[in-house]
């Protein structure tokens, strides 16, 4: 059962141009936490800003009962979080949502992060390492400064490749382009990705073309975080339906779009799923991005 209550801020420090790492002591929450899940955090005790902020589990320390959050200051809520001193109390709910599931068949996977989307990938990388699954981590960001955590990942002994918009680190260009190139070379059998929706959309075009299946973690504005308000929905292939690529010129391998044990039928409507409770992690074949 998810925890909801006060927790102690153990560390809260700047780790990038706009990035902070907060470690929180909250054993009740930690013990149930799984890679890809998130917490819903209140940034202070007053009524404005009102809503909680969803943040992924970036680190899960089962032993010490702490979780860590890697967050970028983008607005008022994250700014208030960044101001919290060590010892402060933070009001936190979680773990929430459905995280990553590692399929039996996966042997050699791509782990792809765009921008702050790298945050939830760390516990996943550790789990993959634990299961001795070969992995290549591909991170995209605007420039070298903005690629967070390569050092830490490297110290885990995993391969990390970077793509930066300005070429200041690794490949010059989008991480999705880098993925396209590396798929052909490394021939992974599965992928996990997290990043902004436009990146995921571009990524799915690449992976669908290559026939690579995987999981993506989505972001959507949230109210409750527990599935009650229906604010955070995303479009998915309607259950037991097959989506045939419609008039926008893309042809896709129909196999890639199959969900569960779906049988081939006519094109039908999408279905809204809740990012907070049906996700945030969805099967790559399941999500539909609007144009």
């Amino acid at each position: 059962m998810p925890y909801s209550g006060i927790a102690e801020v153990v560390v809260n420090k700047k780790v990038g141009p706009e990035h902070f790492l907060m470690r929180v002591l909250v054993p009740e929450l930690t013990k149930e936490a799984k890679p890809g899940q998130f917490v819903h955090v209140r940034c202070h005790g007053e009524m404005d800003p009102l809503l909680r902020r969803p943040l992924s589990l970036h680190g899960i320390d089962y032993e010490h009962g702490t979780i860590s959050l890697l967050y970028q200051v983008v607005g008022r809520g994250t700014r208030l979080l960044a101001e919290m001193p060590t010892g402060a109390e933070v009001d936190i709910m979680g773990p929430l949502g459905r995280g990553f599931t590692i399929p039996e068949k996966a042997q050699n996977v791509f782990v792809i992060g765009g921008g702050i989307g790298v945050a939830p990938l760390f516990p996943l990388v550790q789990a993959l390492k634990h299961y001795k699954i070969e992995q290549t981590i591909l991170l995209g960001a605007r420039s070298a400064d903005w690629v967070i955590g390569t050092g830490q990942l490297a110290s885990l002994g995993v391969k990390v490749e970077a793509a930066t918009d300005d070429g200041s680190l690794g490949y010059k260009g989008f991480v999705t382009d880098l993925v396209g190139k590396r798929i052909k070379v490394i021939k992974p059998d599965y992928f996990f990705a997290c990043g902004p929706n436009p990146m995921l959309k571009a990524l799915l075009e690449v992976t669908r073309k290559s026939g690579l299946d995987g999981q993506v973690s989505l972001e959507e504005r949230m109210g409750c975080g527990v599935g009650a308000c229906l604010a955070c929905v995303c479009k998915t292939v309607a259950s037991s339906e097959l989506l045939v690529a419609s008039g926008n010129g893309k042809t896709v391998d129909s196999g890639e779009w199959r969900v569960g044990s779906g049988t081939e039928k006519t094109v039908r409507e999408f279905e809204y799923k809740k990012v907070c409770s049906d996700g945030p992690v969805f099967g790559a074949g399941e999500v539909i991005f609007d144009d």
């Binding site: 809503l51 109210g223 527990v226 229906l230 604010a231 955070c232």
Partner: protein, 303 residues
């Protein structure tokens, strides 16, 4: 002993605290945080005859001490509600208020019949005030004749207590309150959201997928308290008060203004245990002030 039980137009509640429709799902979502048996009633998400997908995203935007939403009545339809959600809710010893909406009076009649025939529905809250749907919704709630007609139709098709949920987006809410009272409502739910919007100055277009949305949360509380105060003095029906309630102090404002029961809405998102905190706080206030029956407080600010 303190008596917290109230009678909301025939609906017996063990205490005055329920949930605002649309903010508490269908019950199970908040079960990890709230003992559903302790609620005075559970009010579920707005339900329509047919399944509805709702509006495009973004469906929520934060505003000062409030939120805008344009969910647009996404729901699985009344039949699936009866088949899937009611059995879960029947496990609890808590009355269920079903919030209903429709595109036409025929819709309202039919959904009323189906819910009245179902096992486990304790009252109907008739939403004639949703700002987020094109057809029906608020147009019923801002026109007195139309509002009364919907309530009349629901009344004719059910033996359950009928709670009319009114829109605050009107010049004179007491007029509409009187109209629906005459049409046979047993209680009034006040208020639904205020119509609002937000613009993204970078994109130079509205933030919400549906352009406008309903404003809820603490920001609207002063408006909601004022409306409860006005209507309570103008109409004899019991009132279910809501709009920005986050604490027991807020809830007591509504009760003192004239609400018999209150609903916690947006606050659930901020504090998943808000309903329980409100309930505990009301009890504490009564104990501290020697109030034996919560009924003594109803309308006490003007009586």
């Amino acid at each position: 002993m303190i008596n917290l039980a109230v009678d909301l137009g025939g609906l017996k509640m063990k205490n005055p605290v329920t949930t605002a429709s649309g903010t508490f799902g269908f019950g199970p979502e908040y079960a990890p945080y709230v003992d559903l048996n302790r609620l005075g009633a559970i009010t579920v998400k707005g339900t329509t005859l047919e399944p509805r997908k709702g509006n495009a995203t973004p469906r929520i935007a934060e505003t000062p001490a409030g939120i805008l939403n344009c969910i647009g009545l996404q729901n699985p339809g009344v039949d699936e509600f009866i088949a899937k959600s009611l059995p879960y809710l029947r496990k609890y010893d808590t009355p269920v208020i079903v919030n209903i909406a429709g595109n036409s009076t025929d819709d309202y009649a039919e959904i009323t019949r189906r819910l009245t025939a179902a096992d486990g529905v304790s009252a109907l809250e008739v939403n004639i005030s949703c700002p987020n749907v094109k057809q029906g919704g608020m147009v019923f709630g801002t026109n007195c004749a139309a509002a009364s007609e919907v309530i009349r139709v629901v009344r004719q098709n059910t033996t359950l207590p009928v709670i009319a949920k009114l829109s605050p987006n009107v010049t004179d809410i007491t007029e509409i309150a009187c109209g629906v009272a005459d049409a046979g409502a047993d209680a009034l739910a006040l208020i639904n959201t205020l119509l609002g919007m937000k613009i993204d100055i970078k994109a130079r277009k509205p933030v919400l997928g549906n352009i406008m949305g309903g404003l809820s949360g603490p920001a609207i509380r002063p408006v909601a308290v004022r409306i409860v105060w006005q209507v309570a003095q103008a109409v004899k029906l019991p009132i279910l008060g809501m709009g920005g309630i986050t604490t027991a102090e807020d809830a007591l404002e509504f009760i003192l203004a004239g609400a018999t029961a209150i609903a916690v809405g947006t606050a659930n998102f901020v504090n998943p245990r808000a309903t329980m905190d409100v309930l505990d706080g009301i009890e504490r206030y009564m104990r501290d002030n020697g109030v034996k029956d919560v009924g003594e407080l109803v309308g006490a600010a003007w009586q």
